[in-house]
Symmetry: C2
Subunit: 334 residues, 2 copies
Amino acid sequence: MAVTMNDVARVAGVSLKTVSNVLNDYEFIRPATKQRVQDAIAELGYEANLTARSLRSGKTSMLGLVLSDLSAPYYAELAAKLMKAASRHGYRVLVEQSDADPSVELGTLQGTFRQLTDGLLFTPLAIEADQIAARSGTKPVVLLGEHIVDPRFDLVTMKNEEAAAALTAHLLAAGRRRIAVIGARPDESAGSAGLRLNGYRKALEEAGMAFDAGLVAPAEWRRDAGAAAVAGLLDAGVEFDAVFGLNDVLALGALHELLIRGVAVPSEVAVAGFDDIDEARFASPSLTTVSPGMDEIAERSIGLLLDRLAGRETAKAGIHVAAGFELKIRESAP
Amino acid sequence: MAVTMNDVARVAGVSLKTVSNVLNDYEFIRPATKQRVQDAIAELGYEANLTARSLRSGKTSMLGLVLSDLSAPYYAELAAKLMKAASRHGYRVLVEQSDADPSVELGTLQGTFRQLTDGLLFTPLAIEADQIAARSGTKPVVLLGEHIVDPRFDLVTMKNEEAAAALTAHLLAAGRRRIAVIGARPDESAGSAGLRLNGYRKALEEAGMAFDAGLVAPAEWRRDAGAAAVAGLLDAGVEFDAVFGLNDVLALGALHELLIRGVAVPSEVAVAGFDDIDEARFASPSLTTVSPGMDEIAERSIGLLLDRLAGRETAKAGIHVAAGFELKIRESAP
DNA sequence: CTGAAAGCGCTTACAG
DNA sequence: CTGAAAGCGCTTACAG
């Protein structure tokens, strides 16, 4: 049997409540009493039982993180940073992989996962704002990404459109005229894919260049799909002198396919991505990309969620944060 | 206020215990009673409170996973697979990043993290077997990796030595004579680095070739360190016609550095790694590596831990499992 | 097959 | 500043 607060109270010669007060940093405790309790805790090696505390207080000191797939480098790096940020504030992070399955996403908003966590960092991919609103209950939710941008919900995101435009402008300034885009999602205009594509179009427009839909290839956001998309363009005889992968793994898959086919990068075709995952720096050639401010996203989203939990942030409307971005110009598109 | 078992009992017209029996699939319940309870559950939208259940039963339905850094691709992919495997058995996985810090590793063996989880999948990197034995308590622990191989503990690992030898033999068979090794850890002979280096030495021996310590470069297991290690060898004028990165990110960092320096891969220098992370297939050139059987590792480690939890496995001595491996011969070292 | 009672280890009003 | 009591929502012996 583990040591309980009762044992501590007995050894310290005080009541249960006094032990609880010491444990919870209650202000008005006589220093001598506090010391006696702390000595007893040390002597017995007492450790608070989090489950009992949770049952009574309704708080778990865990935050939920919902994302599609932890093995995607962007999510892996983000999760690692979020966990570190949460840990600095005394919270743990419980991760749920949704696989972009709507029923899994809905499931995390209620039931066990919700019970186990005090608040949620939620990357919606398959469900809509009203579905979240219908079951968001009283625990705070901070949305990540851009699938849902809604004034009702807190949101931490990145400057997708602006950054994609800046990257496209860079390619244009370098003399590229036919920039293929891979990773489009024709079925959704609101998400990251849509916003980044918008940025691309705006940059073209600003440069007085026509948009050519034949340069836009849809693809799932995976390496192999990026490779296949570029293969498709090449096989179809589409001409292009640059490829903008809407994220890094797409761009890296494309880069791989181009090199296999004997297409020189960047001399014949420049390649650029989005996310600046660790791997981008070490690709060969190294990948030009957008650093979307992942550190800032991690800090701000944890900060906002904890502010909501602690009642430090009480705005009725959702707070929207967009982290700053930075262009990383590397060998693949100098 | 959430719906409780009491509410269900009232609506169904039965006692608390009967509701509990239905919830816990107790065998001997009259079908009609069971139906009444299930109807009440559906009507009220009742969901069991996991915290209360945990407090009373001492079980949390969570497994702990301790690893150094979730953003390392190998760990990210492994964690994703472990979570999926656990989920199929009704368990969640709570991840703790240790950063290879001994005090963090020790901390996960007791205290809150231990309380929150029914069993542990533990990747020790900085602590030793006796330290684990001293605080392993009654909850099961399955070790991952090879830092600690001890008959007292269950262990799921890979065939490091055998696989490294097979990979080295492949390089030798392809005519490579001076194979540099990067990522050695001179301070530890037992871990993955030591075992893989052993495999390398055995393959050399088998081929009747001398071991040259000048070809072995220590490095942390990161991309940038792999690049720096190769740069060091080149700058020191060490001659080599192949590089064996003791894991994939080391090999990919090395590959990058070689290409930057104008060294042709594989014609001048072949490059091989270990792990077969997703990225290896899509590197340019694609990376020859060892697939260490990650699916098998995930399945077996979850399976073994759950067998211990359920009392299906009662062996007094630790059970050691080594997953099968496969050589993935790709462009970087054909 | 089902019920009434106790209790897991805390925190939370309520007193004093 | 500290104490005695109640109760969070379950499961677990114990009866019957």
